[in-house]
Homo-oligomer: 219 residues x 2
């Protein structure tokens, strides 16, 4: 069965997945970009967001970044990851942060309380808007994924909702060597041990410590 | 001026410094020993607690373990780190977990609400009991340290009290690749960024990620 996976999700030493004071200029919150330094220089990131040349570093960070895109048949994300608009959609002009050719190349299910028609971008990314909750989104994503895995993008509150329901099979977290002090805490108040997760991998680069948390399938 | 330092303090991926359900059989709480696996095999630990032979591993973990004992002129610890007895001392029989020759070899200031006379063990360790609070203990430790550093041992609640008052100059945390899920959280509700700490070192072994958090001296 296809897995629901969180991959390349960055948190600070003190556990925050985004800094305080998120707005258009600081979509990751104050200091939040410090969480993602490990990925920016990787060959995987450069190939997706850079000028298309074959630059960028290989190594542990790149291995994890690349693995994050392997065998993904569908994505799920919260509405705040899709864009900065809150409340009802004023129009359908906003089509995500990623330009004409978003880096997903699969169906993407966006959790929202406000319906909106699906639309397709270049490169095979189709955004669907799911208004009937996280279980419904997961069911639709699983069907769309055709046996491949489903990657849960974020943000923090979306991951927490799926964690709380025990629906995530695997998380790869990148612990960045920064302190945020406040913002959105990924694991606060959640008992991951009780939910059945264990750490199965732990490897560091100079820029981040990568940990993989896995919940064995029931039964 | 001598620094107040927390060293070799282990926490889980989810931020707990001790597991739930601490008692005499599980002084670190359930699963809590998993936090300390990185130190048990080190040459430093083996030399202190083993048979005195020169066994044990060298490397990153041992470097940090050894550094933890360098230039230490006094220790401070909470009462629960000194022993399992709660409330008034029934007698003075309990002399710590560490046998005749404790691994401190300096004055040790134990925070407690219940007065007790000082006493000296083999190897130069003298336990003093401080009933007038964390500032008084720090002042006495600083005086006793004679210009060397003061190491704050633990446990979690003691470290949190000193952190909250901005009194700790440096923390070395070892993030162990385990999840505890509940227990005593080291940083919950504390804003280390606001308190002025930054991460100045970040290095991992297969058994732990070591991070050093420093608060630059005021002025």
């Amino acid at each position: 069965m296809s897995k629901l996976s969180v991959r390349s999700f960055s948190i600070s030493i003190d556990g925050y997945g985004a800094g305080p004071g998120q707005d258009l200029e600081n979509p990751m919150g104050l200091g939040g970009m410090g969480l993602h330094q490990w990925v920016l220089g990787t060959r995987t990131f450069q190939a997706m967001h850079g000028d298309g040349a074959t630059g960028g570093e290989t190594g542990v960070d790149d291995d994890f970044a690349a693995r994050g895109f392997q065998n993904v048949g569908a994505w799920i994300m919260g509405r705040n990851m899709f864009g900065p608009i809150r409340g009802a959609w004023p129009d359908h002009d906003w089509q995500g942060w990623w330009g004409e050719n978003p880096p997903y190349h699969t169906p993407v299910f966006v959790l929202t309380h406000h319906p909106r028609p699906s639309f397709t971008m270049e490169g095979g990314t189709t955004f669907h808007f799911v208004t009937d909750g996280i279980h419904a989104a997961l069911n639709r994503a699983r069907e769309a994924a055709g046996g491949k895995d489903i990657r849960l993008g974020g943000g923090v509150s979306t991951v927490r909702q799926y964690l709380r329901e025990g629906l995530i099979d695997e998380l790869h977290l990148a612990i960045a060597p920064v302190l945020l002090g406040s913002g959105e805490h990924l694991l606060g108040g959640l008992d991951l041990a009780k939910l059945g997760y264990t750490c199965t991998q732990h490897v560091a680069s100079p820029k981040a410590t990568h940990v993989v948390l896995v919940k064995p399938p029931a039964g």
